[in-house]
Symmetry: C2
Subunit: 406 residues, 2 copies
Amino acid sequence: MKASIMTIGTEILVGSIINTHGRYLSQKLSDLGVHVVRHVSVRDDLESMEQALRDELIYADLVIICGGLGPTEDDATKQSVAKVLGRDIYLHEGEYKKLLARFEKNNRAMTANNKHQAEVIDGAELLINHWGIAPGEVLEYENKKLILLPGPPKELEPMVEAYLEDIIHNDSEIIIHSLNVAGLGESRVEDRMRKLNLETSEISLNTFAKFYDTEIKIIAEGKDRLALQNQVDTIVHKLYDAFEGYIYSEGNQSLAETLVDRLRAQHLTISFAESITGGKLASMITAVPHASEVLQESYVTYSNTAKHKILGVDSKTLQTYGAVSQETAEAMVRGLQAITTSTIHVATTGEAGPEPAEKEVGTVYISYGMGDIITTEEHKFNGSRTEIQQRVCDTILLTLILMLRR
Amino acid sequence: MKASIMTIGTEILVGSIINTHGRYLSQKLSDLGVHVVRHVSVRDDLESMEQALRDELIYADLVIICGGLGPTEDDATKQSVAKVLGRDIYLHEGEYKKLLARFEKNNRAMTANNKHQAEVIDGAELLINHWGIAPGEVLEYENKKLILLPGPPKELEPMVEAYLEDIIHNDSEIIIHSLNVAGLGESRVEDRMRKLNLETSEISLNTFAKFYDTEIKIIAEGKDRLALQNQVDTIVHKLYDAFEGYIYSEGNQSLAETLVDRLRAQHLTISFAESITGGKLASMITAVPHASEVLQESYVTYSNTAKHKILGVDSKTLQTYGAVSQETAEAMVRGLQAITTSTIHVATTGEAGPEPAEKEVGTVYISYGMGDIITTEEHKFNGSRTEIQQRVCDTILLTLILMLRR
């Protein structure tokens, strides 16, 4: 089954918001064995929407239209779909009553625009919206399927979780398995992978470059789930052989999730003394469930005073070598070791920009403390202030993951 | 001028990556007065790309194609464009020599695939890529313009900065001005705005709902910049009158940027004692340039031990009321006041989930300390662990911004 995801909204085309529905629905549909062939975003005028829908009905068997079901003037999805399909729109009694009750409960008068939210296209199956007002709709048209969903992610996403699988009824099985490879560039990963000749009619392999690593994604599609799983397992084994030492995690696990897993498995705890990263390292770790098992306390020592007061960094060290120096990074990690009982300590100091203070923007010192062993690295990172901060964090997470390799 | 942004890449359609180019280019093009009418993402096979390009050349005067210029098999943008335009591809001597030199310098053998990166479509103007290997191209075709750009953002974005304005030569002026409104829902903002009847043939107004606030975006397009600016200024005044007390910032300023601005202007400093937010508050502040003027130190006190040891929260308080309680939040902020010289102190404690420990997931206590005045609020947030953490941070930033209203 081929699918197209249409997103309605001028705010996407003027760049006010990013289209997150494309990715979200692509993942959900891929997991259901649906081949997403196009994403299209158009402005919310009737003509653009009608033209786009006519096109997408040529390219896809399933068209999912996101947005344009709300009460404002710009919400014209139903009119355009009804026009293209040659259908009428009627006021749905049940939905209208629910809408009236809602306005009554909130003591607000209902405007004519609001009433449109209770209108439904002839022949549509209704998808009750428990998370907002406008219901979704499923339509059949010339052997094609259309799904209309409300635009706000907090309505669209639970509706997809609740209804999509039942609507699709795909009879082919699909298995997706990812391996994350660090330490080799994407083109070397792809070369080495292609030479293994692992693809079959049922199995495709792709590489996706990320900032620090490359994801190898295995997609298997067929009728027999067990046979597919066996094929995938064999391929995973071959890839582990071919990329020995480079595969650091599987699946959609982020760097932070992988690190928290390894720390938990090895009963280790971690604390940070963050200057350039300003709390980002701690927040990446604490964003992961069960972070409390590995992080108890952490420090943002942004100023020289804080480095001295909290971590006991000698004022002479700060004066002689500067806050952005190997010596300060090392003194920070030693000071951190003195005040916490964690097993692993990391200190960061550097120039995030935009203007340099002591050193060139992008100069960063990272000090790792594991008991008596202290390692301090100098790095040069490119990018904006937040990119530099992100890259420092990713570097540290990946370094620790590789250090804690089982 | 109408533009379409085409993004090439199966990884977008299987949901491996999000299409950030659409938003980035939409913003850049809107600022240059170009009307972006469509975003389209297609898989990287020749047929899909050719069909899509034929369609987009109907809808737009300018088609920007992102990606598919690299060395792998999937990189087929040039072939598909050449086919649709009926042109040949030739090996560009200068680019080929640069490529050879690059491989020589890195002591690597060049493969046949790599050579494709030095190929150019007949009649194209070359856009030198100083940030990667594959050059961009500009093509004229039946009064339409095509721009081919490499897919990696770290190459595409600097190329857009360097070349786009010169390629576009738009002779109409455009002014974009945004006002951010907090404390009213989007539909009330839109109603009130529409009643003012501010739109003209040159000026359009739109509202964009964000999590906590609503952006009113004024887009003015015309020939006379000064006259446009006068119109925009008048509209801004009228909006300030109509939304008195609700407009908290202008432009694309984030909550963190707005807060850092206000703190700097009022010579205030801030420190956090973060439990549920785990460092995110500090990292949001330190992501803003000049954060060092407002944040010197901050603490992640994730465990009970850390709350006691660092902030001096009484063990009895933790035992009697629990870590997630009004009493603990207040004791945290008092402890924070005792150890820092900052003027504003904020403490967070709560249940981020996924499993509840003491209280229901989403229960959060935030304590604000401004000298002797301590205010503690209880909140209930919905969402995933990271959404709850983000919402706590946004709530705190907005609360502080409104507190520091001039």
